[in-house]
Amino acid sequence: MKKYTKTHEWIEVNGDEAKVGITSHAAEELGDITFVEPPPKTTDMIVGDKVGVIESVKAASDIYAPASGTVIAVNKKLEDDPGLINRSPEDEGWIFKINNIDLEEIDKLMSKQEYDKLLASKDKK
């Protein structure tokens, strides 16, 4: 199951854990990413918490927890190569992994189709 947030994170559930990153759209909007500060391992988060920072040459942006859980891993590759998020935002450029997840909570987030619709409606404005 892969879901999306209004704040442009994605979360992909695999068994009892989930991977989190920012969407292709967010990566494209930010431009060249130069710095990522993920939440440290063992951080407990509640959905909607500000849990990290992502910076590009021109802008800084917060990362919000798409779901509640506990951080069990961060993507170490991003330390030396934050541009990996631009090259592969929804795969190799994942930012952190959590467990202690609540599937019902995640299920309420947007599907890919709903997220794309949200982006399309923003474009029109």
Binding site: G31, D32, V53, S56, K58, N86
Partner: protein, 365 residues
Amino acid sequence: MSNLKRTVLYGKHAELGAKFVSFSGWEMPVNYSAGIIAEHLYTRQHVTLFDICHMGEFRLKGPDAERALDYIVARSVKDQTVGSCRYNFLLNEKGGVLDDIIIYKISFDEFFIVVNAGTKDRDFEWIMKNLNGDLDFTDESDFTAKLDLQGPESRDVLIKLGFSFADLPAYYRFIEVKLAGMDILLSRTGYTGELGYEIYANNSYAEHLWNTITSDKRVMPAGLGARDTLRLEMAYPLYGHELNTDTTPIEAGFGRLIDLKSNRKFIGKEALQNLKPQKKLIGIELEGKRAAREGAELFYDNKKIGYITSGSYSPSLGKAIALAYISADFPIKKGEKFEIFLKKIDFRGCFSEIPFYKNATAKIK
């Protein structure tokens, strides 16, 4: 972005996949598909073309032009050579910077003045108000295009377009010539630190000029994002950030350019003679890649000593750099460490020599 102006090359940029931002009332390309970092590095190593049509251009003509202008700008235009460009300042009576400008001396009675987009109208009114004599002063911005060709290979590109090495102007010189049948003004100037040229022409030539130059496959388009990181690495000021009406050119580090001892009178001179500089512009290297942005405060031994005016990741150096104002009397030693606070974030950095980037080619023979 419906109220924003667009340059005549807007369609070209859209075609090239540019991302647009609002800048000084204009909708301008911030970067193309390559991205800011790639465009920045390509400018340092090869050659890029920037659409700078948003900037303003004025022309002052008439028998009294030299005398009248000499009173309005901080650096004399009388001892400026015909055929040269000079970096200059418009100051208010208090010595504060109204704008930083480039003056092209076309002849003793004709000057071409290039100003920032955001201050253009204020500059025009200010100059008009302070001029006197037999003069013709016009704002040519609406029909003047400006393209910047920047990078160590820029000269090779122009040579391939038909110029000889000897034809091309030396650093801070300009020529009025034809390029592919178009009348242009070509100056050896720029805002990147690299060997480069700024090209002015009538708007009707802009697209043909862009196409002619980019038909050389070495030339990559670059946006305002790269222009900003390139100038920051050189510690060049950007109006509205390092320069404003509360800042004198002396505080911004240009004291050596301004002669306060001669008999020449100019607006703001008296204030500069009597004012003690309150602050000085310095360079900072941050620990790490995270940038301290404009407005972040600088602390030394828990005491606030200044604030950041521009900050970004530096593509050439691979770390974050910033320009900041600190108290004029604060002693700085290169490499000395301090803390920077921005809201809840704290950084560490150290004083750095400027320019940050030391291999720039702008002045090569």
